[in-house]
Symmetry: C2
Subunit: 358 residues, 2 copies
């Protein structure tokens, strides 16, 4: 029986996408071989590649000012590529220190130059985000994390940063809602939450920023290399891009980003409401204004009860509810592909468990 998979990433995918990939895995559409064996210069792969890029542009309404790239190495490689491309040795940038993923991005920027933390969530244990931020003169960019997967905080409105390019790691909430792409200098995401399986990284970058990428960088590390070759400078991760294309088709057929956003809000509301209804048993530490629709973090009265909760949920076919090891507690990740029934089953179980143990 299929489990409800609340893992933070890699995470649940639409069953229809898995079935489509399975069907064609040995022989792709009558071509006499698998797509993963085909040359990345073949017409069959080319169609998959350009369809995937076109769907990103269509669903996110990417304006002509921006380029869409498909890279490898996850958001983690982007943490390094961003300062190498835009800050330059000894330069400076601004960053919002909002949680565990912001911390990693900041650490890499700090290898290259000076990072001004224009907000630090430390005092609130990373349970909130700033209303607005003020950029620093000379900052090469302002980096934010649109959704902190581990702490469960999510930007609802994005700051205006004037001439300072706004760069966002959107790994854990890309394609979960419409986004004002024009506000961003760059937005990027590892695939393994809402886009598909792990192995491809989406980068949306404002074209004028490509002119800032220094020629002194090795080829792969320069965004211009990939933009100039339509993300085919070197062999792309064919399977991951094929799967991402199938996921994007599924999003489109489910009402696009407005459709998935509505459903994501419904699912998150179910779980947050259950937490509130049993406020003496469950507790969500996050500022209600910035609670994530993707990753609902919550605590039970004791760590012992948390262990029991996670184990009992697993017995009922609900997995991946353990909070990240760095913060403990529980976490339910409710990405696009988690059906409403999954969120409902979790809410029902939470109610039942609170009544039995509260």
């Amino acid at each position: 029986m299929r489990k409800y998979n609340f893992s933070a990433g890699p995470s649940t995918l639409p069953v229809s996408v898995l079935e489509a990939l399975q069907k064609d895995l040995v022989e792709y559409q009558g071509m006499g071989l698998s797509l993963i064996e085909a040359s990345h210069r073949s017409p069959e792969y080319d169609a998959v590649h350009s369809t995937t890029l076109a769907l990103v542009k269509e669903l996110l309404q990417v304006p002509d000012t921006h380029e869409v790239l498909l890279l490898q190495g996850g958001a983690t490689l982007q943490f390094g590529m961003i300062p190498l491309n835009f800050m330059g040795q000894g330069g400076s940038c601004d960053a919002v220190m909002s949680g565990s993923w912001a911390k990693k991005a900041i650490a890499d920027s700090a290898k290259v130059g000076t990072v001004n933390k224009v907000f630090d969530g430390k005092d609130s244990s990373y349970t909130t985000l700033p209303d607005n931020v003020t950029t620093t003169a000379g900052a090469a960019y302002l980096h934010i994390t649109s959704n902190e997967t581990i702490e469960g905080v999510q930007w609802k409105n994005f700051p205006d940063t004037g001439d300072v390019p706004l760069i966002a790691d959107a790994s854990s909430d890309i394609m979960s809602r419409p986004l004002p792409i024009a506000k961003f200098g760059m937005i990027y995401a590892g695939a393994q939450k809402n886009l598909g399986p792990a192995g491809v990284t989406l980068v949306i970058i404002r074209k004028d920023l490509l002119e800032r990428c220094p020629d002194s960088l090795p080829a792969y590390l320069n965004y211009k290399t990939h933009a100039d070759k339509d993300s085919l400078y070197n062999t792309p991760p064919v399977f991951a891009i094929w799967a991402m294309g199938e996921v994007l088709k599924w999003i489109k057929s489910n009402g696009g980003l407005d459709g998935v956003q509505k459903l994501n809000e419904q699912k998150a509301q179910l779980v947050y409401d259950t937490i509130a209804a049993h406020g003496d048993f469950y507790r969500c530490p996050v500022d209600p204004e910035v609670r994530s629709t993707m990753n609902v973090v919550f605590r039970l009265p004791t760590e012992e009860l948390e262990k029991q909760f996670i184990a009992a949920a697993k017995d009922k076919g609900m997995i991946g509810l353990k909070g990240h090891r760095s913060v403990g507690g529980c976490r339910a990740s409710l990405y696009n592909a988690m059906p409403l029934e999954g969120a409902q089953a979790l809410a029902d179980f939470m109610t039942e468990f609170a009544k039995a143990h509260g």
Copy 2:
């Protein structure tokens, strides 16, 4: 009907591997979800990850002095990581300029420091390799390309480089034959020829070299990051590693590297012998001493005949025979997963075509 796929990469895979992946793609071994949806910290993925690493070590007899890493970004990202990790700004390295892939590796090293070309195949149009090479005092490493996919030259014996670490791009012939791993400081390969589908990069690195990786590098770009975390510092490309593990099991069940080497030599011999038997029609420009068992390049009397040959082969279910656009001509890639029957079918067709058009 399944085609014989002579593409240079991505390239043909064992059908049994494709079938194994297909079988478990929607639900992996009864776990109630696909492996590509599972957390990379799950016991199920962990077993796949460690099995794949263990099979690399077993098949290539990797000594304890060396570490095995699974990265992303292809050999292309390695071209940049190598100088950043080992040369340092303003340092120098040695390199053998043997063809198109060596050229790309050299270009990236030259972004970081000085490259001494200890051999340049330019005068022979990259149809041969040096018998031996002399390293330069102060060189951080010597870089070679164990097989040039485009020009079809392959190192048969590797040079002794003393204290200068030998680094080899083995993308197009890794796992096609036993390798004296102890001779190498580092050996690396994109997966999409002999290891599996595109999306994962194998790196085998001598442990003492990890101490040279500078702390000033962003996390992903530092080999030490990955070595310290068993290639799980960030989310790995799960599907590509799973597939690579299945390919390695298939190699093991086919007699290991001795077994595939024997078969690879047989296949290549069939095609090279056919070229020699029709020496007035086909011509292989490569020095017989260093002809590749993986990529057999050959010319026909005219470009028009080459076009006809490629089209007629395609009609007979043999695809991917066009030479790289940078050099023209024909090329048959005969990686591990190309069955002997495929090489025989090609040889038979070449004979037939020569008789009809010679």
